[in-house]
Protein backbone atom coordinates (compact mmCIF):
# COMPACT_ATOMS: atom_id res chain seq x y z
CA UNK A 1 0.00 0.00 0.00
CA UNK A 2 1.08 3.51 -0.64
CA UNK A 3 1.54 5.78 2.30
CA UNK A 4 1.00 9.46 2.87
CA UNK A 5 2.39 11.49 5.72
CA UNK A 6 0.84 14.85 6.43
CA UNK A 7 3.09 16.90 8.65
CA UNK A 8 2.35 20.52 9.31
CA UNK A 9 0.65 23.18 11.28
CA UNK A 10 -2.53 25.17 11.39
CA UNK A 11 -0.77 28.49 11.54
CA UNK A 12 -3.08 31.44 11.69
CA UNK A 13 -6.47 32.96 11.01
CA UNK A 14 -6.85 36.44 9.60
CA UNK A 15 -9.28 38.87 7.97
CA UNK A 16 -12.00 37.90 10.39
CA UNK A 17 -14.22 40.62 11.90
CA UNK A 18 -12.56 39.97 15.23
CA UNK A 19 -9.43 37.98 15.86
CA UNK A 20 -10.18 36.24 19.15
CA UNK A 21 -10.46 32.88 17.50
CA UNK A 22 -10.06 29.18 17.78
CA UNK A 23 -10.49 26.37 15.26
CA UNK A 24 -11.89 22.91 15.21
CA UNK A 25 -10.43 20.75 12.50
CA UNK A 26 -10.77 17.29 11.07
CA UNK A 27 -9.04 15.35 8.32
CA UNK A 28 -11.60 13.65 6.12
CA UNK A 29 -10.47 10.56 4.24
CA UNK A 30 -12.18 8.33 1.70
CA UNK A 31 -13.10 4.66 1.97
CA UNK A 32 -9.85 3.12 0.74
CA UNK A 33 -7.77 5.03 3.23
CA UNK A 34 -6.58 4.00 6.65
CA UNK A 35 -5.19 5.98 9.52
CA UNK A 36 -2.01 4.34 10.79
CA UNK A 37 -0.91 6.93 13.28
CA UNK A 38 -1.62 10.36 14.63
CA UNK A 39 -4.80 12.21 15.44
CA UNK A 40 -7.31 13.07 12.77
CA UNK A 41 -9.25 15.78 14.54
CA UNK A 42 -8.84 18.31 17.26
CA UNK A 43 -9.29 21.81 18.50
CA UNK A 44 -6.69 24.53 18.59
CA UNK A 45 -5.89 26.95 21.32
CA UNK A 46 -7.82 30.20 21.60
CA UNK A 47 -5.68 33.15 20.65
CA UNK A 48 -6.54 36.59 21.97
CA UNK A 49 -4.04 38.72 20.05
CA UNK A 50 -3.29 42.27 21.03
CA UNK A 51 -0.47 42.94 18.65
CA UNK A 52 -2.27 42.73 15.34
CA UNK A 53 -5.34 41.20 13.69
CA UNK A 54 -3.91 37.75 13.20
CA UNK A 55 -4.85 34.86 15.48
CA UNK A 56 -2.01 32.35 15.74
CA UNK A 57 -2.98 28.75 16.40
CA UNK A 58 0.40 27.05 16.09
CA UNK A 59 -1.36 23.71 16.08
CA UNK A 60 0.66 20.71 14.91
CA UNK A 61 -0.73 18.07 12.56
CA UNK A 62 1.12 14.80 12.10
CA UNK A 63 -0.83 12.04 10.42
CA UNK A 64 0.22 8.78 8.80
CA UNK A 65 -2.19 7.35 6.26
CA UNK A 66 -2.10 4.25 4.11
CA UNK A 67 -4.12 3.91 0.97
CA UNK A 68 -5.01 1.58 -1.86
CA UNK A 69 -6.55 4.27 -3.98
CA UNK A 70 -6.15 7.93 -4.77
CA UNK A 71 -9.88 8.51 -4.66
CA UNK A 72 -10.98 10.23 -1.50
CA UNK A 73 -7.72 12.12 -1.13
CA UNK A 74 -7.59 13.65 2.36
CA UNK A 75 -9.33 16.94 2.96
CA UNK A 76 -9.03 19.10 6.00
CA UNK A 77 -12.11 20.84 7.12
CA UNK A 78 -12.10 23.65 9.55
CA UNK A 79 -14.61 25.45 11.70
CA UNK A 80 -13.54 28.80 13.05
CA UNK A 81 -15.12 29.94 16.27
CA UNK A 82 -15.08 33.32 17.88
CA UNK A 83 -14.45 33.69 21.60
CA UNK A 84 -16.02 37.01 22.56
CA UNK A 85 -15.20 39.33 25.47
CA UNK A 86 -17.93 37.78 27.61
CA UNK A 87 -16.46 34.31 27.12
CA UNK A 88 -19.18 33.16 24.74
CA UNK A 89 -18.43 31.19 21.60
CA UNK A 90 -20.03 31.77 18.26
CA UNK A 91 -19.43 30.33 14.85
CA UNK A 92 -17.31 32.45 12.54
CA UNK A 93 -16.78 30.26 9.56
CA UNK A 94 -16.58 26.93 7.82
CA UNK A 95 -14.03 25.97 5.26
CA UNK A 96 -12.22 23.04 3.77
CA UNK A 97 -9.10 22.50 1.73
CA UNK A 98 -7.56 19.54 0.00
CA UNK A 99 -4.27 18.26 1.26
CA UNK A 100 -1.86 19.00 -1.62
CA UNK A 101 -1.23 15.95 -3.79
CA UNK A 102 2.36 16.78 -4.60
CA UNK A 103 5.03 15.97 -2.05
CA UNK A 104 6.83 18.83 -0.42
CA UNK A 105 5.91 21.76 1.70
CA UNK A 106 2.90 23.91 0.93
CA UNK A 107 1.25 26.92 2.47
CA UNK A 108 -2.45 26.33 2.03
CA UNK A 109 -4.95 29.10 2.46
CA UNK A 110 -8.40 28.01 3.38
CA UNK A 111 -11.06 30.67 2.84
CA UNK A 112 -14.07 30.38 5.11
CA UNK A 113 -17.73 31.28 4.96
CA UNK A 114 -20.65 31.25 7.30
CA UNK A 115 -24.32 30.63 6.59
CA UNK A 116 -26.28 33.87 6.19
CA UNK A 117 -29.67 34.31 7.74
CA UNK A 118 -32.49 36.68 7.01
CA UNK A 119 -32.69 40.27 8.27
CA UNK A 120 -33.86 39.14 11.71
CA UNK A 121 -31.06 36.63 12.21
CA UNK A 122 -28.40 39.04 11.04
CA UNK A 123 -29.62 41.74 13.42
CA UNK A 124 -29.77 39.20 16.23
CA UNK A 125 -26.19 38.17 15.55
CA UNK A 126 -25.00 41.74 15.38
CA UNK A 127 -26.46 42.83 18.69
CA UNK A 128 -26.90 39.65 20.72
CA UNK A 129 -24.34 37.28 19.28
CA UNK A 130 -24.75 33.70 18.21
CA UNK A 131 -25.90 33.13 14.69
CA UNK A 132 -26.73 30.34 12.33
CA UNK A 133 -24.85 27.05 12.24
CA UNK A 134 -25.01 24.05 9.99
CA UNK A 135 -26.82 21.09 11.43
CA UNK A 136 -24.62 18.57 9.66
CA UNK A 137 -21.01 19.20 8.74
CA UNK A 138 -21.35 17.29 5.48
CA UNK A 139 -22.27 20.46 3.62
CA UNK A 140 -18.78 21.78 4.25
CA UNK A 141 -16.99 19.19 2.15
CA UNK A 142 -19.77 17.75 0.00
CA UNK A 143 -20.65 19.38 -3.26
CA UNK A 144 -24.30 18.29 -3.22
CA UNK A 145 -26.88 20.34 -1.34
CA UNK A 146 -24.63 23.36 -1.36
CA UNK A 147 -26.85 25.39 -3.70
CA UNK A 148 -29.54 25.72 -1.08
CA UNK A 149 -27.26 27.71 1.20
CA UNK A 150 -26.81 31.44 1.35
CA UNK A 151 -23.41 32.38 2.69
CA UNK A 152 -21.29 35.33 3.74
CA UNK A 153 -17.53 35.53 3.26
CA UNK A 154 -15.40 35.39 6.38
CA UNK A 155 -11.65 35.30 6.88
CA UNK A 156 -8.91 32.94 5.87
CA UNK A 157 -7.09 30.21 7.76
CA UNK A 158 -3.50 29.53 6.77
CA UNK A 159 -2.03 26.06 7.05
CA UNK A 160 1.47 24.90 6.39
CA UNK A 161 1.35 21.32 5.22
CA UNK A 162 4.26 19.08 4.44
CA UNK A 163 3.35 16.04 2.38
CA UNK A 164 5.58 12.98 2.22
CA UNK A 165 4.53 10.18 -0.09
CA UNK A 166 5.76 6.65 -0.08
CA UNK A 167 5.60 4.01 -2.79
CA UNK A 168 3.49 6.09 -5.15
CA UNK A 169 6.20 5.57 -7.74
CA UNK A 170 5.59 1.82 -7.62
CA UNK A 171 2.03 2.22 -8.79
CA UNK A 172 2.86 4.61 -11.56
CA UNK A 173 1.15 7.56 -9.94
CA UNK A 174 2.61 10.95 -10.62
CA UNK A 175 1.82 13.68 -8.17
Amino acid sequence: MAEVHIIGQIEAGYQFPDSRLFCRWEIQIGGGWRLLGGVREGQTQTDLPEMNDVAHFCHPIDVHLATKTIQGWPKIYIQVWHYDVYGRQELYGYGFCHVPTSPGEHVVECPTWRPAGGFREEMMQKFVGGGLQLRSMEAIYNSTDRMKLKTIAMGTVALRLGVILRNFDKFGIEC
Partner: protein, 275 residues
Protein backbone atom coordinates in the same frame (compact mmCIF):
# COMPACT_ATOMS: atom_id res chain seq x y z
CA UNK B 1 18.26 13.83 8.59
CA UNK B 2 20.74 16.53 9.47
CA UNK B 3 19.70 20.01 10.41
CA UNK B 4 21.65 23.16 11.05
CA UNK B 5 19.34 25.67 12.66
CA UNK B 6 19.93 29.24 13.63
CA UNK B 7 17.61 31.17 15.89
CA UNK B 8 18.15 34.49 14.24
CA UNK B 9 16.04 37.28 15.50
CA UNK B 10 13.13 38.15 17.73
CA UNK B 11 10.58 40.93 17.71
CA UNK B 12 8.55 41.62 20.80
CA UNK B 13 6.95 45.06 20.44
CA UNK B 14 6.12 45.35 24.13
CA UNK B 15 9.39 44.11 25.63
CA UNK B 16 12.99 45.16 25.34
CA UNK B 17 14.88 42.13 26.57
CA UNK B 18 14.47 38.46 25.96
CA UNK B 19 16.27 35.18 26.21
CA UNK B 20 15.18 32.04 24.54
CA UNK B 21 15.26 28.33 25.34
CA UNK B 22 15.14 25.74 22.61
CA UNK B 23 14.22 22.11 22.74
CA UNK B 24 13.03 19.43 20.36
CA UNK B 25 9.96 17.24 20.50
CA UNK B 26 9.87 14.13 18.34
CA UNK B 27 8.12 10.78 18.02
CA UNK B 28 9.08 7.39 19.37
CA UNK B 29 10.81 6.24 16.23
CA UNK B 30 13.15 9.17 16.28
CA UNK B 31 16.53 9.42 17.95
CA UNK B 32 19.15 12.12 18.19
CA UNK B 33 22.43 11.02 16.67
CA UNK B 34 24.49 14.06 17.49
CA UNK B 35 24.08 17.62 18.67
CA UNK B 36 22.56 19.24 21.70
CA UNK B 37 18.85 18.91 22.23
CA UNK B 38 18.53 22.03 24.33
CA UNK B 39 20.05 25.44 24.33
CA UNK B 40 19.65 28.81 26.00
CA UNK B 41 20.52 32.10 24.36
CA UNK B 42 22.05 35.00 26.28
CA UNK B 43 19.74 37.72 27.55
CA UNK B 44 19.48 40.05 24.61
CA UNK B 45 18.50 43.70 24.60
CA UNK B 46 16.70 45.23 21.66
CA UNK B 47 18.49 47.58 19.33
CA UNK B 48 18.25 51.31 19.95
CA UNK B 49 19.05 52.37 16.44
CA UNK B 50 16.41 54.65 15.00
CA UNK B 51 14.15 53.04 12.47
CA UNK B 52 15.14 49.61 13.66
CA UNK B 53 13.70 49.81 17.13
CA UNK B 54 12.54 46.70 18.90
CA UNK B 55 14.67 44.22 16.99
CA UNK B 56 16.28 41.71 19.34
CA UNK B 57 19.16 39.77 17.90
CA UNK B 58 19.59 36.27 19.23
CA UNK B 59 21.84 34.82 16.53
CA UNK B 60 22.11 31.48 18.25
CA UNK B 61 23.36 28.32 16.54
CA UNK B 62 21.80 24.91 16.89
CA UNK B 63 23.02 21.86 15.10
CA UNK B 64 21.37 18.52 15.42
CA UNK B 65 21.13 15.21 13.61
CA UNK B 66 18.16 12.90 13.87
CA UNK B 67 17.52 9.44 12.59
CA UNK B 68 14.30 7.53 12.19
CA UNK B 69 12.67 4.72 10.29
CA UNK B 70 9.44 6.60 9.67
CA UNK B 71 8.56 10.26 9.18
CA UNK B 72 5.75 9.93 11.69
CA UNK B 73 6.61 12.03 14.73
CA UNK B 74 8.73 14.41 12.67
CA UNK B 75 10.74 16.60 15.08
CA UNK B 76 9.50 19.98 16.12
CA UNK B 77 11.51 22.90 17.42
CA UNK B 78 9.99 24.29 20.59
CA UNK B 79 10.99 27.76 21.69
CA UNK B 80 10.20 29.39 24.99
CA UNK B 81 11.21 32.97 25.60
CA UNK B 82 11.69 34.63 28.95
CA UNK B 83 12.60 38.13 30.02
CA UNK B 84 12.73 40.37 33.05
CA UNK B 85 9.82 42.70 33.70
CA UNK B 86 9.97 46.16 35.28
CA UNK B 87 10.07 44.69 38.80
CA UNK B 88 13.02 42.50 37.94
CA UNK B 89 11.02 39.28 37.89
CA UNK B 90 11.89 36.60 35.40
CA UNK B 91 8.68 36.09 33.45
CA UNK B 92 7.69 34.15 30.39
CA UNK B 93 7.41 36.13 27.14
CA UNK B 94 6.20 33.46 24.83
CA UNK B 95 6.05 29.87 23.69
CA UNK B 96 6.17 28.72 20.12
CA UNK B 97 6.75 25.65 18.03
CA UNK B 98 7.26 24.65 14.46
CA UNK B 99 7.95 21.48 12.55
CA UNK B 100 11.43 21.24 11.17
CA UNK B 101 11.04 21.64 7.39
CA UNK B 102 10.48 18.35 5.62
CA UNK B 103 12.29 19.44 2.49
CA UNK B 104 16.04 19.79 2.18
CA UNK B 105 17.39 23.26 1.68
CA UNK B 106 17.36 26.62 3.36
CA UNK B 107 14.22 28.00 4.86
CA UNK B 108 13.27 30.89 7.08
CA UNK B 109 10.30 30.70 9.43
CA UNK B 110 8.66 33.30 11.59
CA UNK B 111 7.35 31.57 14.68
CA UNK B 112 4.61 33.34 16.63
CA UNK B 113 5.27 33.46 20.37
CA UNK B 114 2.33 33.34 22.73
CA UNK B 115 1.76 33.25 26.48
CA UNK B 116 -1.12 31.62 28.33
CA UNK B 117 -3.73 34.05 29.58
CA UNK B 118 -5.04 34.30 33.13
CA UNK B 119 -8.52 32.91 33.40
CA UNK B 120 -10.01 35.98 35.10
CA UNK B 121 -9.18 39.66 35.45
CA UNK B 122 -8.57 39.26 39.18
CA UNK B 123 -5.99 36.61 38.52
CA UNK B 124 -4.50 38.78 35.84
CA UNK B 125 -4.06 41.60 38.34
CA UNK B 126 -2.61 39.28 40.98
CA UNK B 127 -0.23 37.84 38.42
CA UNK B 128 0.94 41.34 37.49
CA UNK B 129 1.45 42.30 41.16
CA UNK B 130 3.19 39.12 42.24
CA UNK B 131 5.20 38.63 39.07
CA UNK B 132 3.96 35.07 38.81
CA UNK B 133 2.39 34.97 35.36
CA UNK B 134 0.65 31.90 34.10
CA UNK B 135 3.09 29.49 32.51
CA UNK B 136 2.97 26.07 30.96
CA UNK B 137 4.36 23.48 33.33
CA UNK B 138 5.95 21.77 30.36
CA UNK B 139 6.60 23.99 27.31
CA UNK B 140 6.42 20.90 25.15
CA UNK B 141 2.64 21.05 25.22
CA UNK B 142 2.82 23.56 22.38
CA UNK B 143 4.15 20.80 20.16
CA UNK B 144 1.22 18.50 20.88
CA UNK B 145 -2.18 18.61 19.33
CA UNK B 146 -4.11 17.02 22.20
CA UNK B 147 -5.25 19.13 25.09
CA UNK B 148 -4.69 22.41 23.32
CA UNK B 149 -8.36 23.41 23.36
CA UNK B 150 -8.20 24.29 27.04
CA UNK B 151 -5.50 26.90 26.58
CA UNK B 152 -6.20 30.56 25.93
CA UNK B 153 -3.21 32.51 24.79
CA UNK B 154 -2.07 35.96 23.74
CA UNK B 155 0.43 36.40 20.95
CA UNK B 156 3.24 38.71 21.97
CA UNK B 157 5.84 38.59 19.28
CA UNK B 158 7.76 36.57 16.76
CA UNK B 159 11.02 34.72 16.58
CA UNK B 160 12.63 34.22 13.20
CA UNK B 161 14.46 30.96 12.72
CA UNK B 162 16.42 29.89 9.70
CA UNK B 163 16.78 26.23 8.93
CA UNK B 164 19.30 24.42 6.78
CA UNK B 165 18.13 20.90 6.24
CA UNK B 166 19.91 17.93 4.78
CA UNK B 167 18.06 14.66 4.32
CA UNK B 168 19.57 11.27 3.70
CA UNK B 169 18.24 8.03 2.23
CA UNK B 170 14.58 9.00 2.14
CA UNK B 171 14.20 7.92 -1.45
CA UNK B 172 16.05 4.73 -0.66
CA UNK B 173 13.36 3.88 1.86
CA UNK B 174 10.65 4.77 -0.61
CA UNK B 175 9.76 8.24 0.62
CA UNK B 176 9.26 11.22 -1.64
CA UNK B 177 9.59 14.72 -0.28
CA UNK B 178 9.72 16.60 -3.55
CA UNK B 179 7.76 16.21 -6.79
CA UNK B 180 10.91 15.67 -8.83
CA UNK B 181 11.78 12.42 -7.10
CA UNK B 182 8.43 10.69 -7.66
CA UNK B 183 9.31 9.71 -11.21
CA UNK B 184 12.38 7.88 -9.99
CA UNK B 185 11.65 4.34 -8.89
CA UNK B 186 12.92 3.36 -5.46
CA UNK B 187 14.13 -0.13 -4.76
CA UNK B 188 12.47 -0.43 -1.39
CA UNK B 189 9.74 -3.09 -1.45
CA UNK B 190 6.14 -2.10 -0.87
CA UNK B 191 4.81 -2.88 2.57
CA UNK B 192 1.36 -4.33 2.88
CA UNK B 193 -0.69 -3.47 5.90
CA UNK B 194 -2.75 -6.43 7.01
CA UNK B 195 -6.25 -5.81 8.37
CA UNK B 196 -6.40 -4.72 11.98
CA UNK B 197 -7.61 -8.04 13.43
CA UNK B 198 -4.71 -10.01 12.05
CA UNK B 199 -2.34 -7.29 13.02
CA UNK B 200 -3.53 -7.48 16.60
CA UNK B 201 -3.07 -11.22 16.71
CA UNK B 202 0.43 -10.96 15.48
CA UNK B 203 1.37 -8.27 17.94
CA UNK B 204 0.00 -10.33 20.78
CA UNK B 205 2.30 -13.12 19.93
CA UNK B 206 5.16 -10.75 19.71
CA UNK B 207 5.94 -10.06 23.38
CA UNK B 208 6.05 -13.78 23.96
CA UNK B 209 8.52 -14.43 21.20
CA UNK B 210 10.54 -11.24 21.24
CA UNK B 211 13.16 -10.72 23.89
CA UNK B 212 12.76 -8.09 26.55
CA UNK B 213 15.52 -6.15 24.89
CA UNK B 214 12.82 -4.72 22.70
CA UNK B 215 11.21 -2.97 25.64
CA UNK B 216 14.35 -1.22 26.71
CA UNK B 217 14.70 0.52 23.42
CA UNK B 218 11.10 1.70 23.19
CA UNK B 219 9.44 3.17 26.19
CA UNK B 220 5.98 2.87 24.71
CA UNK B 221 5.84 -0.84 24.81
CA UNK B 222 6.64 -1.19 28.42
CA UNK B 223 3.27 -0.82 30.13
CA UNK B 224 1.61 -2.99 27.56
CA UNK B 225 3.89 -5.93 27.93
CA UNK B 226 3.48 -5.73 31.66
CA UNK B 227 -0.19 -6.43 31.15
CA UNK B 228 0.24 -9.14 28.65
CA UNK B 229 3.02 -11.18 30.18
CA UNK B 230 2.77 -14.59 28.61
CA UNK B 231 2.66 -16.51 31.88
CA UNK B 232 -0.46 -14.88 33.18
CA UNK B 233 -2.11 -15.13 29.86
CA UNK B 234 -1.69 -18.87 29.81
CA UNK B 235 -3.13 -19.38 33.26
CA UNK B 236 -6.07 -17.11 33.16
CA UNK B 237 -7.15 -17.31 29.60
CA UNK B 238 -6.38 -14.86 26.86
CA UNK B 239 -9.50 -12.80 26.93
CA UNK B 240 -9.18 -11.19 30.28
CA UNK B 241 -5.63 -9.99 30.07
CA UNK B 242 -5.45 -9.16 26.47
CA UNK B 243 -8.54 -7.04 26.51
CA UNK B 244 -7.17 -5.07 29.42
CA UNK B 245 -4.76 -2.81 27.52
CA UNK B 246 -7.64 -1.64 25.37
CA UNK B 247 -6.73 1.18 23.06
CA UNK B 248 -3.06 0.94 23.86
CA UNK B 249 -3.04 -2.52 22.37
CA UNK B 250 -3.69 -0.86 19.08
CA UNK B 251 -0.77 1.46 19.64
CA UNK B 252 1.51 -1.40 20.11
CA UNK B 253 0.37 -3.15 17.03
CA UNK B 254 1.32 -0.19 14.99
CA UNK B 255 4.67 0.36 16.63
CA UNK B 256 5.63 -3.22 16.27
CA UNK B 257 4.31 -3.87 12.81
CA UNK B 258 3.93 -0.86 10.69
CA UNK B 259 6.93 1.04 11.70
CA UNK B 260 9.86 -0.29 13.69
CA UNK B 261 13.30 -1.18 12.74
CA UNK B 262 14.59 -2.66 9.58
CA UNK B 263 14.80 -6.18 10.93
CA UNK B 264 11.07 -6.24 11.41
CA UNK B 265 10.50 -4.90 7.94
CA UNK B 266 12.64 -7.60 6.48
CA UNK B 267 10.70 -10.38 8.14
CA UNK B 268 7.53 -8.84 6.85
CA UNK B 269 8.77 -8.86 3.33
CA UNK B 270 10.13 -12.32 3.31
CA UNK B 271 7.02 -13.82 4.76
CA UNK B 272 4.47 -11.89 2.81
CA UNK B 273 3.43 -11.38 -0.67
CA UNK B 274 4.20 -7.95 -1.99
CA UNK B 275 1.47 -5.85 -3.42
Amino acid sequence: MIGGIMVAMATFPAFDNVYCKQSFVYGNDWAVLSGLEEGITPVSQCSTIEGDFGRIVLNFPLEITFKSSSPFGWPQLVLSCYGTDSFGNDVVRGYGATHIPIMPGQQKRRIPMFVPESSSSLQKFLAWISGKRPEFVDPRIVAHSEGREVTRVRTNGYVTVSFNIVLKDLKKLGYDVSPSSVTKLSEFPVQSFVPQAQEDNRSRQQPAIGSRGNEESEGVEEPISKYGMPKQVDENGEQEYLSAPGPSGLDQSYTSNAFTSDTKLETLHEGEELE
